[in-house]
Symmetry: none
Subunit: 243 residues, 2 copies
């Protein structure tokens, strides 16, 4: 339960925009409709929309309506979102291809977080418009992974299938030279620079439940971090594709 309703609505709208539910340049539902949909007053909905406008995500014209900003100048993701959502927002077709799906003994750095034992390891290739842009490996404890099927994790984001609610995440971003294996699946020369991102996702009670390693070709991806100084209302952190 959130004490501040309009922030929750802003979050939800931000996510829906990021998912591409409202195409760029297209109209959002009117304030009255949103008000009815969220069962909130128009004032509250407006505050949410105005918050999004401050982020440059949407804009409004009197007598016309609210619409997704044509050029999201600083499209910023304040929450733990999926890269796929951003892809969809920029009009690219996301695709997931599962390379491996197996239960294995936890690798060293995974065991350090989850504890020793068997884990589900899913190796996956993410594509945008047919072009590979990320090799992702996800590990989760055996007891969580046992309810998942390979088809499921190929269809939609991993965490959607987990029977628990996720909390926050910590990720480290580093650079490396592509291994022969990664170079192969990403269709880049071996040894060329890649961004390596390791993420530890915890459940709402703080236990690490999901570990992942993302490898991005350097020429296609970069991280954007906003460091606000004065008003800590939102500190967006996200990733975006560079063209």
């Amino acid at each position: 339960m959130r004490p501040v309703r309009y922030l929750a609505i802003a979050d939800d709208l931000r996510e829906r925009v990021a998912r591409g539910e409202f195409a760029a340049g297209r109209l959002l539902p009117s304030e009255s409709e949103l008000s009815a949909a969220y069962d909130a007053s128009r004032v509250t909905v407006r505050k949410a929309l105005e918050a999004l406008r401050d982020e440059g995500l949407v804009d409004a014209r009197q007598g016309f309506g609210w619409f997704v900003s044509a050029d999201p100048l600083r499209q910023s993701l304040g929450r733990l979102g999926t890269i796929e959502g951003q892809l969809a927002a920029s009009g690219l077709a996301p695709e997931r291809r599962v390379l491996d799906f197996r239960f294995v003994p936890a690798p060293a750095w995974v065991a350090k977080e989850l504890g020793p034992g068997s884990v589900l390891e899913v190796r996956r290739l993410n594509l945008a418009d047919g072009e590979p842009f990320a090799r992702v490996t996800v590990w989760c404890p055996e007891k969580l992974g046992s309810s998942l099927s390979r088809d499921e994790v190929e269809r939609s984001p991993f965490y959607e299938w987990l029977p628990i609610e996720l909390g926050g995440a910590t990720q480290t971003i580093g650079a490396a030279a592509a291994s022969a294996d990664d170079a192969d699946v990403l269709a880049i020369p071996a040894g060329s620079p890649v961004l390596v991102c390791r993420r530890i996702t915890t459940s709402t009670d703080g236990e690490p439940v999901l570990l992942s390693e993302h490898v991005f070709p350097a020429h296609r991806t970069e991280f954007v971090v906003d460091l606000p100084r004065s008003e800590p209302s939102i500190a967006p952190t996200g990733m975006r594709l560079v063209e």
Copy 2:
């Protein structure tokens, strides 16, 4: 010795905050709720909260509530600003060596932010215990840079010498292969992976005033980013050295 109730409550709250029970930026239960929960009067709860406020751990706004202070953010921003400080903290001797100090026409991506014209460009090498660990280039408008001397920027961080107050910053993090030049000054093989971080720092009124490009050898550095899930609040962002 008489047990002092409000100090005990303050201790308990401090621990709950430290455990992350209340995410940074999140509202705490109201004074009335805490009062009921601890079976103490509101005055006592208030004294506990005020003690935490004096420590800078929480803050309050009238009519709104108590929330975990945003201080960690500013801290990490400061940390980002001075990697050198981190080095010193870990017992390494930081050193700055100015490679270039000159006024030049703004390069393309700099001109895009600062506008065309002449800028001060400072190329610098950062060392830890004699080992180079970052090549940094800073650009700032000519009228700001004209009051700086080469000795000054070699002695202490760039922004300390600027006659204006800085606001927030946006930085992008990417990977690349080391150029021949960078490889040379960083003492790494040409073409080996490096982290490239470009930062746009704005003044308090939102004007970009400082642009910088940091190049780190991949084997020594990585970024750490915390991602909150549902709370649009504070996302501490920092960088640390890897072993």
